[in-house]
Every structure is written in structure tokens, then in C-alpha cells.
Symmetry: none
Subunit: 428 residues, 2 copies
């Protein structure tokens, strides 16, 4: 297999300011592409260390990906090292310069001299045009080995890898060993339960299929991968396992694909069924409506939402009963139910959902500990609430509540029997 | 300064299953302890690569920390490499063996042979007793340099570092240099502009003070660091630069501290001034109210919000004029202004803010390209709107809009002259 090295440049990585998520992402992508990632070196913004590490990786690995040090300030020296390493010179790239100028003009910023420098590139490289930022990526070839230099900003690095580098790698190395990977995204089931239901996979693993459980925001992702003489053969190996997985745990798989989100899948279900939705949020504070509206085209199904943080807002906007608020408290089944129905009616939506809870880290009582959440659902008259107790981590509680709500909508629309985490629907 | 190297062993790190948070944590800790972390190498569970990397780090660095490969399964080979590297043998450590047996007994597990093997350690090492797990850490000394080998499980690694390794490092290197670091968080100014305004820092850098610009969600963070004979001296060196920074760019510094957020600072300003706020969001979809409510205690100042995704919601809930919606469109100054005032009045809040724009990636027109955002502000009668054009990245547009709004509130409450990105307030 062709070896790959990753070099992450940046003092902030070494002193613990930033976690090296770039290397992890790159490692996963290169592995999928059939490369053997032999090494990740994280080094400072130091001329000597960059020079030395790049020089040796360029010899040892077929593909070396370098990230970092391409910004406009004085500690960004990666480009200078490349010029010296290849004994070349910098030339101005007009396309990049124009692009940088247009970014600044559009935003109304002053174009600074240090930004102009980002348009100068080593003469011997192929420029990888960066639509997401001011620093272009660079592709070098040396004695059959490839060196790719990218900005360290994650969104820009990922864009350049996916849109520019991967196609060039396909061109350069057309007959790599084929590697096929598939991702099955689940929600509403813990890893240990999922693994128990799936059971022993030795038969598949002995046939060269790798299986991994990856934790994630919306739930556990099952990753299966196999190699083969060509893509067809590799994918063929996965087909049997895929069928097996759907047979065992199909209900909790909301879709396939590494980057697939629960909000996209639920959104599509709403759109396919021509349903509209409105949200009433207290403890989640707007995160639910924000996730729903992260999806382009969500205006088709999303009417809007109320963030009813203060109780008077719950009363005034959602018609929650003052008496019930006083009697049962905001974090209660009755209030969750009223919020869900209230927002659906106020916004004339087919579906209303609500979240009211104790986000934490403080605010709990023996009766209602931190992490207690009631989620209300009004799905065209189907009116119920779910209760769970999460953790004392405020931000995680918000995220998890949002995901449980989205998964509940998904399962209800698909008429699946079980709800996330086997929660039981409660009515008035 | 004494050099430190970190070697992280584990296939899962290279194929992207696990992010290398251990290295980040270790880097931060070693830096605080006055070491210069020169390199992190992440390598597979491969005999040759472990041998080669440990051997060279042991020569190049005063302290090398190795994590991983100490588990009970067949791919855990780190200890074998150590035995060969030091040309020594394994001996059974009774204290560790008894401890492992007691763990298993207590949990009711069957004690396996592979677990017994974890009690065997290289003859030439100091055992670092691991109360948190079955694999002890190991401390080796070779020609004045230190090699520490720890399990990769984060809780165990951190325990061993803090409880066993740090005390031994203090003993071994009693007169290390002290290190001080400070973080200044800015918002509303691009890195190049910030760097230009701060100017030449040679004078400080020649005095041993390092400066770095770190990009982040809310804006650029300026990190300054210095070493000295003791902490007092190190901090003293930073004092002058700190004053210089406040003098040059004080207005854009919203606070100090690595993890400080703009929403926390703005929230505190609202709370200190006894002001309440309500949000009216279209394109940001709830992200603004979600960020505000991420802060514990935000219920003191946050009344709530309306996510007015559909135009009828803008009309019905925010009293936006149907005529103006039809005439100027939802993404316009007049609608942003009405939304801000409308929500403040509807929720009886001192401050109302709004965001209406084209989040993307589609939906633009020549007149209003993707990324066009109008942000409305009603701050106790002070009524104005800001306009900017961001990018075609939907999620980034939402984030950036939220940060511009929070920073605008902050600067307005502090009566600072300039608004973020030099945007000009526009009125009816």
C-alpha cells in the first residue's frame, strides 16, 4: 500500500491550545482513499523543523500532506521553507490575487499588504485554488512522490482536500488498491446496546471487513470497510455485512454516509410528507430551530419557533396555563405538552415540538435533578411527551435533547414502534 | 529550555477513529511545566516505528512521553520494544500483580493470563503505580534524558502524569525555567488588520516574549508567552506587552483567558447593566438565542426569542409591515429594523436584535448575493441596522452573523466608537 505522512505545523498544537483534529480527519480520509497513514508529525512554526520533517517525509512517503503556517502574519513561514527546499522562487498568481481582493472588497475591509503576500506561490507548484479563504493550497511533485501544502484552518483544509487534492490523487494514482468504506448512522441507541444487537462479526472480519463504532453528536456511526483488487470487489465484500446490519438494527439506522446529519434526514421526511413544523424551546434555547435551519431548503417545512426562556413568554406566546406553570413548574409534562400544541397552533404548523428542562450545571432539586428534560410533541393531533434525565453538562444536554427530538419525529413519521432510548410516550 | 517530545502510539489515531486529545493535553501540561514541546509523533502499533521513534527522541529530547500500546491484547507491543531498546529483561512486579488481581476480583471478572502479563515490567525502569488501571507506567533514565511510558487511556494517562510523573520531574529538574502565558480575545477585526495595528513586535520578541494570532469562532485570539527564572519574572515580561496591546487595540479585546466566550462577556455586560434582551432571527435560525443561553444564569437577562423563518411569522409575531416585506423583501434594512423593535416590544425587553439574510448556499440575486445579512438593533430606543456580505457557507454565515451581533451589543454598551469590521450603523 502507498504510504502517507501528515505534518501538522503550529505552535498552538504543541502547547495544547488546539487539538489536532485536522490530522485525525486527514488520516480518516487518506485511509478511505487506500493509503497507509504511517505517521503524523506535529511540529512548531520553526524553519528548521519544517524543513527537516518535510524533506524526510517527501522521501519516505508517496504522499505527504502538510497543514499550517500559510497565514498572513510573521509566524507563517511554511511557504518560505518550500521555496528553499525546492530551490525555487515565488511568483505572483493573478487569479489568487484577484480573488483575495474581491473578498476584501465585498466585505468592505481594507486590503492589507500582508494579504497580498498570500497570492505569491512557489514557481514549481500546482496552485490548488481556495474558494474558502485567502491562502491557496500547493501541490508539488518530487521523484514520483507528492507533497501537498494546505492552510490549517479546518474548513479551508477540508475544502481543498475534497475538491482539489482527492481528484488529483485519483489522477496520479489510478490503480491504488481499492478500498471501500460505508457509514451507517444510528441515533437513539447506546453503543453497547447496538453492539450487543449486532453481535459477533468474526465471520465478516475474517473475510477482511473491518468494523468500527464511532461516537458522534447524533448517535453512534457504524463504519465498515474492506479492500479488494478493485472497487467492485471491495464493495462486494461489504454488501453482505450491510444486509446483515439492516436486518439486525435497521430501525435505528437513519441513513448512510459519513457526513449525513439527523436534521437533514428528518427535514427530508417532513418535506416528502408535505408537513410543516414549529418549535417551542426553553432549555434548548434555540438550538433545535438552529439545527433544523442548518439544512438548505428548510424554509419549505420550517415555519419558525419561539424561544420561551422566561415563563411569561411561555404564557403569552404559547398559551401555557399560568395555573399549570405554578402548580407543576416549567419543567413538567403538562407544560411540555402545552408548549408543543401551543406553537403548532400559533404558527399554523402540522407539527409542534417543545423542550423544557434543567440544562445545568445548577438549578436541580431532589425532585428534578440537573439534566431533567421534558420534550413535547404535537404531530397532527398525536399529542405526547417524553422525559429523560441527561447529565450536568449544559451544552451536551442541549445537543442531546435536540437529537432525541429529531429522532423521535423521524421514527414517528416512519411509524417505527420504538422511540429513542426506549423512552415511553406519556400523555395528559 | 528543556526539550520534550511526545510519541502517541495507536492505529486508531492514524485512521481517524480517535482524535489525539492526549497529545494536546500533554503539550499544555509540559509547556506549563516549563518544557519546550518540540514535536508530537503519532505512529502505528508497529515494532519498527516505535523502536525508531523512541530511540531518536531519547537522544534529542530531555523528556520523552510515550502513550499507548500497553493494553492486554496482541497488538500492544510497546513494552517489548522497551525491553529490546534497553537490552534488558522483564521481571514480575508483585505490587502491580496484586493490584491487578484485586481489581478483577472486585468487579467479578475472570482474571486472564494476558492481564497477568501487565504486571511484568522492564528491569531497568521505575514503576509508576497506576491506581486507575491495570497497566503501570514506566520511567526510564538514559544518559540524563528521561523516557516515560504511559497507557493511552486518557483518565489513566492524566492520573499518572499528574500524580507520578510531575513530582518526579520536579525532583529531577528542580531549576527549570518558569513559563507564563496570557490570552487576549478579540472580535470584529480580521487577523491581518489586527496584526497591522499592533505592528512590529521585535522589541518584545527579542526579550523572549512570543506572540501568536489564533483564529477562532468569535474572532482572533492573541496569545503572548514568556519564560523567566521564576513565574514572577515571566509574568513581569508579559506586563509591558499587555499594556502595549491594550494601548494599540484595546477596543477590540473583549476579554482575557483561553476559553472566554463573547456570549459570556456580552451576557455579563447585560446582567451588570440590568438589561434584558430578546432576539428575532430569520437566517440565523435560533443560533443567536442558543449561544446566549449557553451561558449559565442567562435567564437573568434573556427573555426569549422568535425564529421568524416564514414571512407570515415576521408579520404575525414581530409586527413587520406586510407592505415593507413586499416592497423591500425580507432581507432589507427596514425589515431588520422592524424585527428588532418588534421583538423588544413584544417581549418587553430593553434590547431587541434581529438577523435577516441569505444564508446560502443558494438563494442569492445580483442585488442581494448569497451571504447578504441585515442585522437590526433596538437598544433602549437607539435604533439602527448593519449590513454585511459574508460567504456562501451557510453554517459559517450563521456563526459569523451571531458573533457580529454579540460584538455590536458589547461595543454599544461600552460606548465604543467603532462597530465590528468598521460596519456603519444605518437608520430608517
Amino acid at each position: 500500500m502507498k504510504k502517507a505522512h501528515i505534518i501538522s505545523i503550529g505552535n498552538e498544537l504543541l502547547i495544547g491550545d488546539t487539538v489536532n483534529t485536522n490530522a485525525s480527519w486527514l488520516g480518516g480520509l487518506l485511509t478511505e482513499q487506500g493509503f497507509y497513514v504511517e505517521q503524523v508529525s506535529t511540529i512548531p512554526d520553526s524553519y528548521d523543523l519544517i524543513f527537516g520533517n518535510v524533506k524526510s517525509s517527501l522521501v519516505e512517503a508517496k504522499v505527504t500532506i502538510v497543514t499550517g503556517g500559510l497565514g498572513p502574519t510573521h509566524d507563517d513561514i511554511t511557504k518560505k521553507v518550500m521555496v528553499d527546499l525546492f530551490d525555487t522562487e515565488l511568483i505572483e498568481n493573478n487569479e489568487v490575487l484577484d480573488f483575495i481582493k474581491s473578498i476584501f472588497k465585498r466585505r468592505g475591509f481594507e486590503f492589507s499588504r500582508s494579504n497580498a503576500a498570500q497570492a505569491w506561490v512557489p514557481k514549481n507548484c500546482d496552485v490548488l485554488f481556495n474558494n474558502k479563504g485567502t491562502a491557496p493550497g500547493m501541490w508539488f511533485e518530487e521523484q514520483g512522490n507528492i507533497l501537498v501544502v494546505l492552510p490549517g484552518v479546518p474548513t479551508e483544509m477540508k475544502f481543498l482536500m475534497e475538491e482539489r487534492v482527492i481528484p488529483k490523487l485519483h489522477e496520479k494514482f489510478p490503480d491504488r488498491e481499492a478500498w471501500a468504506t460505508q457509514y451507517f448512522k444510528t441515533s437513539g441507541v447506546p453503543e453497547s446496546t447496538l453492539s450487543d444487537h449486532i453481535g459477533d462479526l468474526n465471520e465478516f472480519e475474517n473475510n477482511g471487513v473491518g468494523v468500527a463504532y464511532l461516537p458522534g453528536v447524533s448517535g453512534v456511526t457504524i463504519r465498515i470497510s474492506a479492500n479488494g483488487l478493485d472497487v467492485k470487489q471491495a464493495e462486494g465484500k461489504l454488501e453482505t455485512l450491510k444486509n446483515y446490519l439492516y436486518d439486525k438494527v435497521g430501525a435505528v439506522i437513519f441513513g448512510e454516509g459519513k457526513n449525513l446529519t439527523l436534521e437533514a434526514v428528518t427535514g427530508k421526511l417532513l418535506s416528502d410528507n408535505k408537513l410543516t413544523i414549529a418549535t417551542a424551546e426553553s432549555c434548548t434555547g434555540g438550538l433545535l430551530s438552529s439545527k433544523i435551519t442548518d439544512i438548505p431548503g428548510s424554509s419549505v417545512y420550517m415555519k419558525g419557533g419561539i424561544v420561551a426562556y422566561a415563563n411569561e413568554i411561555k404564557e403569552g406566546f404559547l398559551k401555557v396555563s399560568k395555573k399549570d406553570l405554578e402548580k407543576s413548574g416549567a419543567v413538567s409534562k403538562i407544560v411540555a405538552l402545552q408548549m408543543a400544541k401551543g406553537v403548532a397552533e400559533a404558527m399554523n404548523a402540522d407539527i409542534g415540538v417543545s423542550a423544557t428542562g434543567i440544562a445545568g450545571p445548577d438549578g436541580g432539586t431532589p425532585d428534578k435533578p440537573v439534566g431533567t428534560v421534558w420534550m413535547g410533541f404535537w404531530i397532527k393531533g398525536d399529542h405526547f411527551a417524553l422525559k429523560t434525565v441527561l447529565s450536568n453538562d449544559r451544552l451536551l444536554n442541549k445537543e442531546r435533547t435536540v437529537m432525541i427530538i429529531l429522532e423521535t419525529i423521524r421514527r414517528r413519521l416512519l411509524k417505527l414502534e420504538e422511540l429513542p432510548y426506549q423512552l415511553k410516550p406519556q400523555t395528559v
